[in-house]
């Protein structure tokens, strides 16, 4: 006899309207991808919150570790030349 489980965990991402980013909404339990999609629709889009849904098995997501933040995200801060404000524009130049 099979054991009773609560089925696998899936993360749900919604796109509010076409053109918008997909945003994490929460998670659902489901045995396979079509059930995950249906459960995500029933749980997270009862009032037109989304026009498109992604579901992803939770264990397929790789996340950074907050303990490593300082090291992991550090290179961003000392490369100021990545920002447009770093550059000196000649006086009088327009629309740049």
């Amino acid at each position: 006899m099979a054991t009773d489980t609560q089925l696998a965990l899936w993360e749900v991402f919604l796109q509010a309207k076409s053109g918008a980013n997909y945003i994490h909404a929460g998670s659902v339990h489901a045995s396979d991808k079509s059930m995950a999609l249906q459960n995500a629709r029933d749980t997270y889009t009862r009032r037109g919150e989304g026009t498109s849904i992604w579901v992803v098995p939770s264990d397929a997501i790789v996340a950074s570790n907050p303990d490593d933040n300082e090291m992991f995200f550090d290179p961003a801060n000392d490369k100021v030349y990545r920002h447009p404000t770093f550059y000196v524009m000649p006086a009088g130049a327009k629309a740049i």
Binding site: Q6, S31, M35, R46
Partner: protein
């Protein structure tokens, strides 16, 4: 040993600095055991309340007085189930499984809101639940939108967006009955009389007697005290009762000009503790029903898993 203590102290210091800066805590952040435990207890109780709360309302689906009323009630109950799911999934980010959460409900280790241990005797009770019970829940949930744990806060934002329909549909039922026959008015007042005090109890013991308050405030899980929230609820509800001609069943209720809110009569805490400890009117029925439905649904989950396994095997063999 000494080294471990230093590491723990350092972790607690970083954690509390983060809380004090007003940053949210996310699932992978280091957090003290006490914080994690408090959240699991509170969030699971909250999730179980949403799900158990479907029972007293479900009792009236087949007897709703019109098709409109039936559609509304079905939609509301579906929302409550959805709210339970948002909260379970938020609680699961703390490392507890759905099976364990349900197991804790079934063994009595986890509680659900006391209010759902009261019966729904007639249609007016559906109005009173939406207006008073959901009204009280909203006051609490609006405050929790700013709770420090990210997934809990996000679930609360989502829930609050949906709750105001619940309260308004309940108030509409009460208003309609108060505009109806004498018998309907008496039914509405009777429901008010039975649900008012249990609704006030939903906010929990008075601040001086609340066992879980200290760390919850320090760690910004709770933003407002039980009594603050209870007053907020009373202050907005009294006016709504007056508008439709209902009487608040509390002879000591009066406006306190100096404090800027209503003073209320003594709450019957003996009844509160009797109910919370399992001896309210419907405790056994609510839990027995949840366990029965859970067990009867086991074959569905098993079949779903078997179907997945079969499909995976077919792909593998091709």
């Amino acid at each position: 040993m000494e080294k471990t203590d230093t590491v723990l102290e350092e972790m607690l210091k970083n954690f509390e600095e983060k809380i004090n800066r007003g940053d949210a805590i996310e699932p992978k952040d280091k957090m003290p055991d006490g914080y994690r435990k408090h959240l699991i207890r509170q969030m699971s109780q909250h999730a179980h309340s949403e799900v158990i709360g479907m029972q007293p309302e479900g009792n009236w689906i087949t007897r709703a007085p019109s098709l409109r009323a039936k559609q509304i009630l079905l939609a509301k109950i579906q929302d409550e189930g959805g709210h339970g799911l948002y909260l379970y999934s938020a609680a699961e980010t703390l490392g507890i499984s759905r099976s364990e959460l349900i197991n804790q409900l079934h063994t009595g280790k986890a509680k659900y809101s006391n209010i759902f241990n009261y019966p729904t005797l007639n249609w007016a009770d559906i109005g009173a639940i939406g207006w008073l019970v959901d009204g009280a829940a909203i006051v609490n949930q609006v405050s929790l939108q700013r709770t420090s744990y990210g997934p809990y806060s996000r679930a609360m934002v989502r829930i609050c967006k949906e709750e105001s329909f619940h309260q308004r549909q309940g108030y509409e039922i009460m208003a309609k009955m108060m505009a109806g026959t004498k018998e309907q008015q008496e039914m509405a007042q009777d429901a008010m009389n039975r649900w008012w005090w249990p609704s006030l109890m939903m906010f929990g013991p008075h601040d001086g007697d609340s066992p879980h308050t200290g760390d919850a405030f320090k760690w910004k899980i709770k933003r407002h005290s039980n009594d603050e929230l209870r007053h907020k609820f009373i202050d907005k509800t009294v006016q709504q009762a007056e508008v439709i001609g209902l009487t608040i069943p509390d002879k000591d209720l009066k406006w306190n000009e100096a404090k800027g809110h209503y003073d209320h009569g003594a709450i019957n805490w003996d009844e509160f503790y009797r109910t919370i400890n399992g001896n309210g009117p419907c405790n056994r029925q609510r839990l027995a029903h949840h366990i029965k439905v859970h067990n009867e649904g086991a074959w569905v989950r098993e079949a779903a898993e078997a179907y997945r396994a079969k499909k995976e095997k077919a792909i593998f063999n091709n």
